[in-house]
Symmetry: C7
Subunit: 88 residues, 7 copies
């Protein structure tokens, strides 16, 4: 059983602040700020629009997407156009 | 007698919170929050735009569509673009 | 003498709440709510855009269109894009 | 001397409430409501867009257009897209 | 020395209320209302878009354009799409 | 060293009110009003869109562009579509 | 490890006010104003849209983009359309 995004949407598992330092990039933030990075869990059906792949760590627009909890873990479904960058 | 959506619209039977756990996906929510999943009952006439089929369990945008009761049961007519994902 | 809609517009005779049950579809509503179904009386000149025909019972978007009384009966002129579904 | 509408615009002579009954269509209204029908006096230069002809009685969107008095008589210049229907 | 409008813009010399009667069209107005007619002084460089010529008396949308005084006389630079009609 | 506008943008040196009379065009204004004319200093890279050249005196939309001081002098970077006219 | 912008986005390292004078361009500003120049660190994957290169000093729209700190240094991810000019 899985959540399969439609079209140009991407399912992202939101990263907690403490594990965001892999690779040396640290985004210091106050406790009130929501982290804006996550791991791509599934991509939509529109192959032309999708520019990321499952497993990519991505940054996304702070106000983008729709939140959903899957087995208790916070996820986000965002449009490809709301993904700003890949962390490589 | 049936409700036949027009164009890129889809008729969805809104799922109640308690039966949303089939397949292991649980979306915990407060009583005030409306569930955002449902079952596709009928699809519109625009075959190119329609990416779901009757019987699919889908997630949709919280503020999307027009509510309608059919034989006492809450349904929603949404545009295809407001359907976020299929639950498989 | 008749009202001939232009382009992608459709002339609808608004159904009263009490006669909306033909075919088993009942949309319970409070007295304050306007019904959202009607019968197509005339269609516009844009044959490509028009997806309904005279006599169809249709559901339409609650805030759509322009109201007009014809011989004392409430009608609505709506764009095709505001018609959600046909009741068959 | 004449007012020649440009492009997809149409010049309409606004009908007074009392002479709107020709053909049996009566739009009862309170004194405060502006009538929404008129007679086409001149059409614009964009032949593809113009779907009415001089002399047609038309209904138009209540908030459409720009009012202008010509020799003391109230007229309206509206875009073709604001004309809802022809009364035949 | 001249003001040469760019693209689909037109330079109009705003007519005072008292000289607007040439040709029999009178637009009675209160003193507070700005007249909406003028004479075309120069047209832009986009020949396809420009539908008026220098010397035409035109009506334009009340809230259109940018006002500019040239040698003390009030002018307006408007887009072609804000010109409603030519007075012939 | 220079500021090179990108795409359809133009760099303008804002003219002070007192030197705007070259050529006989005077735009009287209260002290509070910002002048809306200037000299083109550099043009963007999109040759198709750019309709002015370096040295042109231009009028531009009052609320257009981004202000920047270069060596203490007020400049403006505007899009070509915000330039209304050339003063020749 | 790096931040790779997607599509028509550009990663910019925001310049502090004091080092903005290289090349003679000084943008005097009050302490409250954020500088609007920076150095391009990485460009997106859409080669047609990208008009700047890594190392360029650029000016960008004051309200553009999403701020992100990388190893404690303030960066900005902006769309190409929000970059106004290159400082050469």
């Amino acid at each position: 059983m899985a959540v399969k995004p439609i079209g140009d949407r991407v399912l992202i598992k939101i990263k907690e602040s403490e594990d965001k330092t892999a690779g040396g990039i640290i985004i210091p933030q106050t406790a009130q700020e929501k982290t804006q990075t996550g791991i791509v869990i599934a991509v939509g059906t529109d192959a032309d629009a999708i520019k990321v792949k499952v497993g990519d760590e991505v940054m996304y627009d702070k106000y983008a997407g729709t939140q959903v909890k899957i087995e208790g873990v916070e996820h986000l479904i965002v449009k490809m156009s709301d993904i700003l960058a890949v962390l490589e």
